[in-house]
Amino acid sequence: MKRIFNKSKFIGPSFNGWMKLLIIGLVLSIVTVFLLQFAMHFQVWGRLNYQSTDIPVVLDFVRQYMMRPQALYSILACLTLFIFIVVLVNHLFMGVAIYSLTAIVAIVAEYMKMKTRNEPIIFSDMSEVTAVSGLTKMVDKDLLVAAVAGIVILLVLAVGLELYIRRKKVGKFSESVQSMMFKQAGSRLVVLIVTFLMLATPFVVNADQNRAILNHFGYQWQNKIGVDDAMVNGPIMTFVSNISSVIMREPAGYSAKEMAHLQKKYTQYADKLNETRQDNLKGQTVISILSESLTNPDDVPNLAYKGPDAYKNIDAIKDKAVISGKMLSSGHGGGTANIEYMTIAGLPLATFAPEMAVPYTQVVPFAHKTPILPSLFDKREVLHPYAGMFYNRRDAYKDMGIQKFYTTDGLTYKYPDKYTGKLSSRAEYPTDENAYKFLLDKVDTTNNKDSQFLQLMTMQNHLPYSAKEYPNSPYKMKEPAVSNSTKDQIETYITGVHQTDLATKKLIAKVEKIKRPITMVFYGDHWPVVFTFVDQNKQMQTSHETDYFIYQNAAARKMNKSKLQHDERPYASPSDFPALALKATNSKLTPFFALQTKFVDELPALANYTRDTFVDEQGHKLNTKDLTSKQKKLLHEFMLVQYDITAGNHYLDDSFTDNQ
């Protein structure tokens, strides 16, 4: 090492060479930041009127962004990355090509995520980078082809130019390029270390330090909504702001003493509730069905279509179910894993820190304990007719004690091919009917004495809703007036919903006949992305309402004698489901689930799509300040417990969360 340094004398590019390098880097960085911002605004969503498909309008939004101090941060970040890459490879054209390739991938990915979910890429999305094959299927084909072509051309050009420079060492152009490169290892190493440290800073500092750096560049955190944050601060700042995020901020009064008090209080409360509960999960099955993007088309404001009632069977099942109502989803067009997390963990997203965007990547891997509903069962399996690498599910399930996770790409637990049949040759995903068949197979094969938890996440109604995906669709959209492509998408979606409706009817009929007691929690996870004519600002609550029900077959109804009232929770948060399922099965509770039960019994439903907001039984919005002091106290106690088990000091001992 000493020899290298002695030999090197830290000779880098000349000042003029640095300036040339800086010009190239600055131009590329400005173009990258410009296009990334363009991807934020060039969208059909029309969020706060800052998104448009009118290019001059979008260019004006981008121009406004480029005038903000936040743009400097984004440009500097890109410039640092550029210098790091160029110095690392120490070949100008290869460096430019690699940087451009990275930028193209980032821009296309940002654009596609915004197009599908109106959310910018955040750090936790990086867990899905390994799911390239799955992701590319969701990307606009033309854009993907253009991006790949662009990348190939860039690489060919770069290699060609590098070969040219190598062959023609003398000449103005060659000398100019050479003047930008490092001739000695020492100076190269110094620049590499400096740029690397600059790039690594957000990953090593804590959340508050990270925020302080961003604030120095005028970062304006946009509460709750990632797209707003990206439009104001730029997607790079939004991404960085999520790197070292806070899981949950410490609630006031959090201490070992307070947690000991809560442990005692809710142990006593659980004992009280358990006096009338049965220790009866043995031999029972609880099924949780997450129906992808399912919502009743009749609930979509202003939507009119021609064709048979697409949702009549599910409506009928809801009437017969032990409990049913509207679920207040946290997502719109996406965020499935978050909703799923809430339904099994019983912890609402709204009480976590706003920076915490994906619990499976930001909470579960770091939490001391993740008590979930399935942990009360002997057998815990999840079925998903798709690839399993999204949202870090594989690792998260392992951490949470899920025993088997069946996916189409599973090596140990492969989702059987015989259940992957599609509705048509043009359809992308396996039908719900087939998924239900696999689900019922899993019920049939279980040992009668074991308690069993099964979760199915369907895929049939997942985007992209291609035109004419189902050739014999009886549905024609009448209103409102939308583009032909949107109309095609909506018709495809309604046809899919109708198929789900028919399949669910058959499923219920079969479940009803099974002798094993079965309790089934069924819900649509969120609205699909197709209803672009619905103003999400004005219809915030409606566009986050999906249907849920808990159905029990004859054997379960007979065995459990559920005390649930059918209209007990007309509006429910996904986090209410564990408490409701345990009430339906009339099962004994841990202190943790007793607290959740008290939450469901005494508080209105949390609206997880925003903060500090509840929805009462009549569907009216309430703020936290509108709650009674008793309700506020309960909410605070709940948050103390949530903090303790996810981000706090784990003062609560295992008896609070574990089945005894």
Partner: protein, 339 residues
């Protein structure tokens, strides 16, 4: 005159013209232009001052020269400002002229503390500042500090010292304005050191088109981010800002080099404007504090850019004439003293 000296002489003239433009441009209506002028002008002014420091000059000699060059004009113009302010008040001329100080006491306080703007001082919150005169004080301190730094060898140690004290200056200025715009004089050290070594023919320097382009892009980016505001030595990003300002300065230096080589008629004119720049700054300081020239022009012309251009030209002419008069008087005084 060698090419480097001629370049710096022309640069001084350009700096004075741009300084006038900076004082005349509307910060509210043309914020980007104002910021651009701060990024380009301040580094130039201090670079020129650094160039003027002779390598073999004794510290006492530098101190004497700096007092005559910067402090004397500062105090004279400040006293004139205080007197004019009282004059405006006494004769009720506020419709024609500005009254920068509500009382003589306030003016004296501002003059003695030497803060450019109102703000937190070491003692208390000052309700007013001395205006552009702060630059003369910063030039004085900058010259003294650079003279001390260049006595320390080698160059690498000088650079480390400059980096440290620049950082220190920006750090201190977050909390308080030190007397006599000392922090401003500290944070400009990179430009003064550059200016000083530009005077050293043994140090290689070449103008380059790449530097001009890089400086252009950087000034555009930085102008949209904030001003390079040295009055109270507060900028958004110290390290990035100083680096950016150095590159912008290098770019301007390259441009001026090309101008010096190819446009000789203009260069003579610019060299003339740049002579005795401390007097120009003092006169401009008085003008901006007392004469509401833009307001007066706004009463007769409604076009913003025309008002700006006219104000710019008028102030420049007043400075040229006033400077000529001041030089004549001092020359006469010098001759009289010699006789």
């Amino acid at each position: 005159m060698n090419i480097r000296k001629r370049t710096v002489s022309v640069l001084t003239g350009v700096a004075i013209i741009m300084l006038i433009a900076m004082q005349m441009v509307s910060q509210q209506q043309n914020i980007a232009w104002y910021r651009f002028l701060t990024w380009t002008t301040w580094p130039m002014i201090f670079f020129v001052a650094g160039y003027a420091i002779k390598i073999n000059q004794r510290i006492v000699q530098t101190l004497t020269q700096s007092i005559l060059k910067y402090l004397v004009p500062y105090f004279l113009i400040s006293l004139l400002l205080i007197a004019s302010s009282k004059f405006v008040q006494m004769f009720g001329l506020t419709s024609l002229l500005n009254q920068p100080f509500q009382a003589i006491r306030v003016g004296v306080k501002a003059m003695l503390y030497g803060n450019g703007w109102p703000g937190a001082t070491m003692f208390w919150q000052f309700e007013t500042g001395i205006g552009l005169g702060w630059a003369l004080l910063a030039l004085f301190w900058g010259t003294i500090i650079t003279t001390l730094i260049i006595k320390i060898k080698p160059l690498s140690l000088q650079i480390v010292l400059v980096v440290l004290i620049t950082y220190g200056g920006f750090y201190v200025s977050r909390g308080v304005q030190l007397p006599w715009s000392f922090t401003s004089g500290v944070v400009v050290q990179p430009f003064m050191l550059l200016g000083h070594y530009f005077n050293d023919e043994t140090k290689a320097w070449q103008p380059a088109r790449a530097t001009i382009l890089a400086g252009g892009i950087i000034s555009w980016i930085m102008s949209h981010n904030g001003a390079y505001e040295l009055t109270v030595a507060q900028i958004n990003h110290w390290i990035i800002g100083t680096l950016a300002a150095i590159i912008i300065l290098e770019a301007i230096l390259s441009i001026i080099w090309y101008i010096s080589e190819h446009l000789s008629r203009w260069t003579m004119w610019l060299i003339g404007i740049g002579k005795h720049y401390s007097i120009s700054i003092a006169i401009l300081s008085f003008m901006t504090m007392i004469v509401p020239i833009k307001n007066q022009l706004n009463n007769i012309i409604t076009t913003e850019w025309l008002v700006f251009m006219l104000a710019w030209v008028i102030v420049l002419l007043i400075i040229i004439v006033s400077k000529w008069a001041v030089i004549k008087i001092t020359d006469y005084w010098d001759k009289d003293r010699v006789n």
